[in-house]
Symmetry: C2
Subunit: 374 residues, 2 copies
């Protein structure tokens, strides 16, 4: 089996939908947030800790694993699940985003065949093609692989984007042709910036290729505005089939997840919860808080009152502030657990709100609280 | 209750002894290795992980906690156990070792009253006295506190050491007088370098003050030779009472633990298992291995065959090498778990060997294997 998406319920007032994804590594409910384990590890956390957050699918990065340790070593170790000791579902990205974000502009040459660029580690010359990306992902043996796409910057012109999506469609086709892992699903990616016609065209042409699911890409670039992100979703969703899962790539701000769900997105991923954790920041219902702040010095409360995560059940803000301000890595670990659980709990509540057809009320209540102190 | 040490069995051929220590936070068996949680956290690990290594007492550093977050904040948070979420026994050191090792020589002024020195964090002027050290430890509310002692360098002259141990005895007396926590035991510290007469004098005078246990200090300084360490133990032990626990400070090399146990030591502590872990090193029965080594790239074996720790039960050397070489903190965490469990398991085996009166054979078998490849 590859994967199977089942639409369970549509919310009455919006495009939000409740569903489930069956994979060889377990069944997960959607909407869902996927924590990111870039190099086959969710920074600082054990697989058990991630699971204790009620994680569904997690994500790993093809580009990073290609460079180190190399896909052949992961395959030698029995594939990604066994390598990193995570038996739940794993999605791998295509490497496209990293190629376009990590390599400097002048060190990158995009050709029809693929992308020449320099390694962010040692500057060596690398060449990634749609076929190579799929071949690597086949070997990593994730449950879901992504097509190799170009991720143009938010500033790209209409003309540039038009050519780019045409090429990304050709790349998607080439990748699909070589995909060769019967246990792995393959998703196509819709690009096209904030342009209605480009998104429509990209979605329609990608859907014609008949993938196991569809992603909306190009919304998490630097300088991307929220309006453009919402436009990109709104312009793509109507052309995606109802019986396939929809994935908004790189999105992890709580409010953006809510807005994505309302617009019909099923799954999300982002490094945000772990990245801000390492800098001492935590999500709460009342907005983000920064544990470096001296006001938490003697604060006996948990990071977030009412949170059911390991961190909030066992540690005070005062202790976590101590760890963060003295560079103790257990601090980042505790906040990562909380932040991941926060986003997963958010999607659990969104699922409940869909069931009750009250997702617009949920959004309003959430935003009022979240933005009050921010 | 403070603590109660019970001598259970003496080994027939050596001074090794089996015992138990009852504390308000649980009963532990000796010989035992104590993992170090410098700033109220065993670097990178959760209390549950430390306990899963079958930890007994753990150690925290008074000097570091005095500076950050400050003993009053720890007390405000309910004391060290509650602050760091560890309900097992905790021992705090006196700060003496850090004052003498972290502060540069010329920035340190030892007077009869105490030590003037500069903070290793911001260079501010600090003054630590025997009374202050005990007062801080009383507030931290550990199960066992240590007397404030001077830790002279290995190179100190006989004359210097002689004056130093006299002062350390006076300091021990002053500390004992102000000690004021009915639930906390207080240990005295024997100094005197590798000189038989000084160790004897220091031990006898310290024992006269009637502490709840006794430490052998000054053996883990830089440049200290192994012979001098063993001499320091041999010259101190005969003058320590049989019904009190004996603690060799700062020792964590497997062979030194075995030698210490054979010489009559009950408990040990060291940062070694977590420090070398962060650099990719692991203890094994066949000596230390360095996971940075390319030969482990495709190694599907656990760090140590037959080890019962979480790391060895779930991860390959290849995966851990990947984490270590890509600076992923989960690597240091996995190796810390293994290394701590290794030393704790070593002491479990030493206890068994004492029961069976075969500790000399155990030493021989261990050393033959351990030093073969090292």
């Amino acid at each position: 089996m590859k994967i199977k998406y089942t639409l369970i319920q549509k919310e009455q007032n919006t495009k939000a939908r409740l569903g489930k994804i069956e994979t060889n590594s377990g069944t997960v409910e959607t909407p869902m947030f996927m924590p990111v384990g870039t190099k086959a590890t969710i920074k600082g956390l054990s697989p058990e800790e991630v699971k204790a957050c009620n994680s569904g699918i997690i994500l790993a990065n093809t580009y990073h694993l290609w460079l180190r340790p190399g896909e052949d070593i992961v395959a030698h170790c029995g594939g990604l699940h066994k390598f990193m000791n995570y038996d739940g579902p794993i999605l791998t990205d295509s490497g496209g985003y990293q190629v376009f974000s990590l390599a400097k502009n002048k060190e990158k040459d995009i050709t029809e065949e693929g992308v020449h660029f320099k390694s962010h580690i040692d500057g060596s010359n690398l060449f990634l093609t749609p076929e190579k990306s799929i071949e690597i992902q086949n070997k990593l043996d994730s449950d879901i692989a992504m097509s190799f796409d170009e991720c143009p910057p938010a500033s790209a012109s209409y003309e540039y984007l038009k050519n780019s999506i045409e090429r990304t469609i050709r790349w998607a086709k080439r990748g699909k042709q070589v995909h060769n892992n019967p246990n792995q699903a393959l998703f196509g990616i819709v690009q096209g910036g904030a342009h209605a016609d480009l998104r429509k065209y990209s979605a329609q042409e990608t859907v014609k290729l008949d993938f196991d699911g569809y992603s909306i890409g190009g919304v998490a670039n630097d300088n991307e505005s929220k309006e453009d992100m919402y436009k990109a979703i709104d312009y793509s969703i109507p052309y995606l089939p109802e019986d396939k899962v929809r994935y908004l790539m790189g999105v992890g701000e709580p409010i953006d997840i809510i807005e994505g769900v309302i617009r019909g997105v099923d799954i999300f991923d982002c490094v945000l919860p772990t990245r801000i954790a390492r800098h001492g920041q935590a999500f709460t219902r009342n907005g983000k808080i920064n544990l470096n702040n001296a006001k938490y010095k003697k604060d006996l409360q948990p990071v977030e009152e009412g949170c059911d995560c390991y961190t909030c059940k066992n540690y005070s803000r005062a202790y976590i502030r101590h760890l963060i301000t003295t560079d103790e890595m257990f601090g980042g670990r505790l906040l990562s657990i909380h932040n991941i659980r926060f986003l997963i709990r958010l999607t659990e509540e969104l699922r409940q709100a869909i069931k009750e057809n009250r997702i617009l009320e949920y959004r309003q209540e959430f935003i009022e609280k979240y933005e009050k102190d921010n």
